[in-house]
């Protein structure tokens, strides 16, 4: 066990954990973040996605020690129901969810990609989401929401 400091959604937290613990368990258990979820534990589905230093990462296959000190954003920290992030708002506008379990993967992967590639085309956005799964198959609404948000960015 060792003390590791994480910066999550703008706040510093020090946790005393096995440094080999996957980041996901620290976020969801110790820090009670509701966004990142255990879907597969294998980095195959995206449900555990968080943004670390601007990159979307799979927190289930990232050890906590490798992100010590990094700026981490979870879906919880992106916006609030009262003041959602514009990308979250686009999902609300499109009613782009069913069970919602996949949303960290879909929203945060798209957010990180568009932050880096604000001029991305629809095809490029889709390719960026190639490793993200939604078992309810809300795909078409989600992509519409992401493209609407991307369009706002291009027009801004």
């Amino acid at each position: 066990m060792s003390a590791i400091t994480l910066k999550v959604n703008g706040r510093a937290h020090t946790v005393d954990v096995d440094p080999a613990t996957p980041l996901l368990f620290v976020l969801s258990d110790d820090l009670e973040q509701r966004g990142p979820k255990f879907g597969c534990g294998l980095g195959q589905c995206g449900a555990c996605t968080v943004i670390a230093n601007g990159r979307a990462i799979r927190s289930c296959t990232t050890t906590v020690q490798t992100v010590a000190g990094a700026e981490i954003t979870t879906l919880d920290g992106l916006g609030t129901p009262e003041k959602p992030h514009p990308l979250q708002q686009a999902f609300i506008d499109e009613q782009a969810a069913q069970c919602g379990f996949c949303l960290s993967g879909v929203i945060l992967t798209a957010k990180a990609f568009l932050d880096q590639n604000p001029k991305a085309t629809e095809r490029e956005i889709r390719q960026a989401l190639a490793g993200v799964l939604c078992r309810c198959f809300t795909h078409t609404r989600m992509l519409r929401a992401i493209n609407t948000y991307a369009q706002q960015g291009r027009n801004a």
């Binding site: 258990d29 509701r34 255990f38 879906l75 609030t80 979250q88 609300i92 198959f137």
Partner: protein
Amino acid sequence: MRMTADAAAGLARAGFSRRAFLRGSGALVVGFTLGDVAGPLGSTSLAGAQTPPDRRTQLDSWIAIAADGTVTAYTGKCELGQGLYTAQMQLVAEELSVPLARVRLVQCDTGVTPDEGTTSGAQSHPANFRNENLALAGATAREALVRLASARLGVPADQLVASDGRVAMRTDRSRSVGYGELVGGKRFDLPLDPEAKRKPHGEWTVLGTPVARVDIPSLVTARVQYVHNMRVPGMVHGAVVRPPTIGAALAGVDESSVSGMPGFIKVVTRKNFVGVVAQKPWQALQIAAKLKTTWTPGPALPDQRRYYDYLRTRPTQDTIWVDSGDVDAKLAGAATVLKSTYYHPYQMHASLGSSCAVADVQGRTTTVWAATQNVYGLRGNLARVLDVTPGDVHVVFTRGSGCYGINGVDAVSFDAALLSQAVGKPVRVQLTRRDEMAWENYGVPFVIDQRVGLDAQGTIIAWDYESWTATRGGRIGNANTGNIVTGVLLGYQPPAFAPSAAKPTDQPFNDSNHAPAYVTGCVGGMCDGKGTIAGERAIARRTESEFFTGPLRAPNQLQNTFAHESFMDEIAAHAKADPVAYRLRHLREQRLIDVVAAAAKAARWEPRPAPRAGNRRTGIASGRGFASVAMEAGIYTNGWIAMAVDVEVNQDTGVVIVKRLFMAHDSGPISNPNGLRNQLEGAALQGMSRALSEEVTWDAQKITSVDWRSYPIPSLGTEMPVIETVLIDRPGENATGAGETASAPIGAAIGNAIFDATGVRLRQIPFTPARVKEALAARRT
């Protein structure tokens, strides 16, 4: 550990029986936080005036009105991601003439909500939106409020109108009284009135409109507490060690292999059940992975490559769904006889989130939080597993990952309860991906032989259907504990399989769509089929499966529809007829005819036979396909759908892309058109995934499709079709289901489109690139 507000509320309810609390007289207000959704719905003050919830005929079991006029409705149908929570709020708001914002909904909580069985089979819309249950409770309450107001105001009831949470005189709205003043906090003490009038469809202002789902802002900002996020005081974490192979028996456990590991609390074994408990979730997973166990292997599994042939050799339980008695004679006299065999594999629910439950067993008193589809059924089974009475157990539905049928939720609820009982602390268990996928109750495989006889004009005069499937276990009901993996590990068994000869069904005609829509369906003098073919026979043979099986979205209906609608396309092609026109030629039921016509119109379908003339044999070939189904669910038809798809087949790689999808759907009166579209889109695309990608696999001993590499599905990166959906609203009809319809026909529609594009008929799901390439290679040159 900090306790979440939701957990606190649940615990409070567990130790503080709401029923006992409310047995007293007078107005009582129980405050607790809505378990399902935090955020905008926030803390809710509920007026409690309920009678015991098993009394489904009592109005107070369904509706309570607080002194401030807030309406609380209690429902036994839960939000599984299908949007039902919002739709039920709309229903209550509409029937009670109260603004949506003043409606609270409490769902699926033993001892609190009515026992409405399982939230499954696209049955919630029919159950709660017809003239019974929740809808009837709303109507009964509104009429009761008008009567109470009549007495209060001294105005005849027929001169009063309920609106905006008040009852007012039609001619003088200033003479009014609020619901809270009329019954606030008190019981109605009335039975549901079967004569109570539902609000006429023409007066709807909330129901039937695209109200945005109340939970989506909380979902997209991660404010919703899934069961995966539950925290209760003193909670520790469990993990299970499933057998390494199917049918293996536990021979030994070496606790010393893990007892020194960080966070170790306990190894728990009971018969073949093995689990571990640790302080932290990651510790529990590591301990479970390191625990040394030895097992005696079970019998070898049948060779998957020859499994469909193997099914035909197995002992069967047979059901005759329809038999006109003249099929063999009609086939013998037919101008042409066509036959084909269709194959459908085992498939899985494969929830994105592996199943999770939290259990707190304190002596006999047990609370379990789980995303189960049936809280009361789970309660009964937990009582058996824990050796307590159902009254000792409180099951609280808590939101989970979409399930599409029976996933690992009930099994993991057993797991958590066993581990909690063993350590005397609350235990949270979430299955690994492998344990979810290797041991869930799969959707069943089918081999379907069909023959038709055509007359000289190419009209079908006889349709013969014979199928083999395989089942084991299923839903746990109230006491079928051996129907899922943990139950069997504990020594319970599924109902014994008893082979039996073919006998006519005692069930309503065509439950699960064994017979195609095109037959007359004449059984016992009643002709409930939707078509014109009088020579009809449908025999379904059930064998015993090696794997657990259970309902997976459109169970049996999907497999049967794949076979019927693909074969219909083959027949139309043989008759050189347009596939839509040929379908219509054999249909007589108007609602099915209407969706077929509407989908064809939306797709701008030009009549011609398949395959398309002039397509090249290399590169990309385009084609179109059509399929339709009326979902037969026992005593009634549970939704009508037709669809057309445009596909592109890459004849060099075998990759099939669905480019466009046109659907027409009828599920009676529409409760929320946007929610309905969302369900149809998701069901169709999930059905597309099943048709193109999904197949459970195994080797000689164990399941080998255990993650998203070995059980792939299309990701967000996969090109998806442009979807156009036509909704047919039927205000005068009964509500039917909509959650499964679109999954059922899409496999046939895609297969038919591949035929149209390439001239090759695919008769085995899934249409993987390898299978498509193989079929194309076998094509006559």
